[in-house]
Symmetry: C2
Subunit: 522 residues, 2 copies
């Protein structure tokens, strides 16, 4: 058998193909479908998975080529593209398009230099961010960039330039006034829903705090997921701006606004790879915050044996990096290192967390003390961004706002302004109480394992699913007394969560002198 080019009419080589819609969703990667018998496919010597450039209508997009043997999908002479890709080109079914081999993005040269250990310039990073935003990078090329910059590390100027480049690629929100407050936790602690307390407290104080949050990516709930138990979180730009001008605060999902889109694309590769580097984290967080229009930002870095940051020295290095980049980009930023030894509050999962938040706002006796204290301290620091507030007075102001019910009232107004949630969500009705194996003191609660159990129980898709912690670090338990309660709605989820608990409950019970010391106090 010989493999050779068929004697085709040479003109077909530069010929055009007829566009056809293919109803396959390939997420952030364009895919083009071409029939194996297509003259273009054979003449150009395309290979399956090759990157091709499609031009028409003065526009061009890049796509990965898939080869099709079924004329029901695409016929020879046709080029299949997804709905999204077709609309990017501004075309209709049947339009004529040209296809050729895509050149690799020019900025890959800079990535290869980074692999060799070189330092990248501001222009290099700007070109990389632009090519990523224009979808010119395949996932493997993004992986190469991430690993190369994670391994030799990005120095602090590179992190600053990467942040700037990421901000430059998307939309930016603009707010009236020159003090737009924000807070952000680097993540890793289940139940850590302080934003839903800080926003109403700070807004009640009169400062602007239009908070955009993410949905859960790998955690059992993001702030947007939990807020959605109470109110709508997907707001149009006009609606958001109306809410903020009336209430000074909002708690919405940031996904609709195309803020620092490069960040989302990088995260979509970091997550499956399981890599997470300080330089990337700082650029990711600060680019998103700058794009959201924030001017004054509190960063919360929890430290603990099962937190993202496990040693004080790493937290301090991360703090310096945040400070360096923020100072040079004109962002007022303060870093607070917090206790990350265990989940915050009692509930893990949207409904259970929303319940905790409302208990704190209503000053109920069952309100989790740690969530209240942490939120007050963070809110206090945000309030001290107010030039009229004396340094050190923020905590007391925040506590007054909370204790007086003004924070609760503000939260009700924000909920009403965003649109109250019609559906009433309740904790899942399938319940398992996990008992203490022996009597003693709770000496360890594994953040990762509790998050995993809550996710398996169905959170965040099933809003009522999750874990309710009945005992926290340092508390005494008797053998057989429940440590926590699992809620699920569906039997299959319930079974997955139970199986996970059987392999590892996430709790350790021991002697009172074995409780780990607090790594940080603030």
């Amino acid at each position: 058998m010989t493999v050779r080019k068929a004697p085709t009419d040479p003109r077909s080589k530069s010929g055009t193909l007829s566009l056809r819609r293919v109803a396959i969703d390939t997420y952030r990667e364009n895919v083009a479908y071409m029939h194996r018998q297509c003259e273009n496919y054979r003449a150009e010597g395309f290979q399956a998975l090759a990157k091709v450039e499609i031009t028409a209508n003065g526009k061009r997009i890049l796509a990965v080529l898939n080869v099709v043997d079924d004329v029901a999908l695409v016929a020879p002479g046709e080029l299949g593209l997804s709905e999204e890709a077709i609309s990017t080109l501004g075309l209709e079914d049947g339009a004529a398009v040209s296809v050729c081999h895509a050149e690799p993005p020019a900025s890959m040269d800079a990535v290869r230099r980074k692999i060799e250990g070189e330092r990248l310039t501001a222009d290099d990073l700007m070109a990389i961010a632009r090519d990523i935003a224009e979808r010119r990078y395949a996932k493997m090329e993004i992986a190469a960039f991430l690993v190369a910059s994670g391994q030799t590390g990005l120095d602090r100027d590179e992190v600053m330039n990467l942040t700037r480049a990421m901000v430059a690629q998307g939309e930016r929100l603009h707010w009236p006034g020159d003090l737009v407050a924000d807070k952000h936790c680097i993540g890793g602690l289940p139940g850590n829903r302080t934003s839903m307390l800080v926003v109403p407290i700070v807004a009640a104080h009169g400062m602007l705090i239009p908070k955009t949050s993410s949905r859960a990516i790998t955690s059992p709930s993001g702030t947007a997921d939990t807020m959605e138990v109470l109110a709508h979180v997907e707001l149009s730009p006009e609606h958001l701006s109306e809410v903020v001008s009336r209430e000074r605060g909002a708690l919405i999902w940031g996904g609709t606004a195309n803020l620092a889109p490069v960040d989302d694309i990088l995260i979509s590769v970091e997550r499956p790879l399981g890599v997470d580097y300080p330089g990337q984290m700082v650029a990711s967080i600060l680019s998103k915050k700058m794009a959201a229009g924030s001017t004054h930002l509190i960063i919360d870095i929890p430290v603990g044996p099962t937190a993202k940051v496990r040693h004080m020295r790493d937290a301090l290095a991360l703090r310096k990096l945040f400070e360096y980049v923020a100072d040079r980009l004109g962002l007022f930023l303060q870093v607070i290192i917090t206790d990350g030894r265990q989940p915050v509050g009692q509930g893990i999962g949207p409904v259970l967390e929303a319940r905790d938040v409302m208990r704190v706002l209503q000053n109920e006796s069952e309100a989790p003390v740690d969530l209240r204290q942490k939120a007050l301290r963070l809110a206090g620091r945000v309030i001290e961004f107010d030039p009229d507030v004396r340094g050190g007075d923020g905590f007391d102001i925040a506590r007054d706002i909370l204790d007086s019910g003004r924070a609760h009232d503000k939260m009700q107004q924000i909920i009403a302004a965003q649109g109250q949630q019609k559906e009433r969500f309740v904790p899942g009705s399938l319940v398992l109480e996990v008992p203490a194996p022996t009597s003693g003191t709770v000496i360890g609660i594994d953040n990762y394992q509790m998050a995993r159990i809550a996710r398996l129980a169905g959170a965040p898709m099933d809003k009522g699913a999750g874990v309710d912690l009945l005992k926290k670090l340092g508390e005494q338990v008797k053998q057989g007394e429940p440590l926590y309660r699992i809620h699920a709605t569906f039997a299959a989820d319930f079974g997955f969560a139970k199986a996970q608990v059987e392999s590892d409950s996430g709790y350790r019970v021991g002697r009172s002198d074995q409780v780990p010391a607090v790594f940080a106090e603030f």
Copy 2:
């Protein structure tokens, strides 16, 4: 708008889907197609591009999920898979399969440790190779492994262990006797078809040399492409073993034999990323050669300003690495560093290279001297692996075999045994002669540029396409005298090649004292 889980029957969660063939070729990556309205899709909270595990029939495969909106492709309740994936599972259309989220491959932990700069153990590398061979790695994960091991570098024991791991994953060819000779060039020089001379010379001497070669990946022709001008190169295992037992030598394409398949998968990521590291190169070449059953190997490293290796110090470092790994894996290996300043021989492209080879074998006066000399020296070194040959006598033995016509006779026998090519290929009839811009001496021929021109002219798919060099380094030329000739079959190809020549002819003409010195002589 709220996003939440629909209250589905919990039993559908662990339910099965009905398999359906989807005629889309996704090359080395399995893709699964699921309808957006499928209960499983919604219940499991799958995301487009998530990795899923498909189990049925006691087997399991991994696939990337694509979401479909068209019931003509797959309906809710169905799972679409490619022909290849279905046959891997050993199933038919309509069979019941289960789908769940795939765990990332366990060996990614080792990749993450490599990213942190750690040294990998033999077990780590064995696990990585196994997971790659089983298609458990996504391309981005492979990119992470390649970049991580390129950047901190693999030390020589890691290269050895990677080589061993790559050999362990595929088939191995076995040959009678304990001297199976081979030669391999690390690549980068167009026209370098010495294997087609070394094999008949060495086989005529009576040594076993069953040479498996690749087709061109980025070059204008691989040895298999050029040999195919004369004979069939895709042989069944039985046919190959018949040829070798009768003729002692063969020149076939190695792609059918599943030798070191991890190497092919790594190359499919290295190539589009444009990365090529010494450690990976050594593991790639030696694993392929060991899997092909070679015991005695000559490695050719050309050095020159436009060769893969550009400095003598790099060539020496690469030589030591080849020697270290080969010695520990029980492979007799000798490295020869050769002159890589310019293409070898006159023709570039399958037909033109085959013509050069036959001219050398037939001792014609137009036979390219450099190709003949290089082939004789390499063949001589291979012949010296024969314990009965005195060190230093190999070259003379090789020359006697060539000059006496015995090499030509052996080549004819090998061609007849493999099956003579029925089709008679000729140089492309569209011809362009590229003239010297000034009178002077040829002082530079760019290997990359000549390869690019030959590829654009249509090589290797169009066997008659390519470039015929009329002047080589150091030769005098008059202004307007042709430097080389382009052959093409199709007008479009011809146009592409012409445009490329206009931007850069690849030749430099200057003063005779500007001819670069030979970096290496052997």
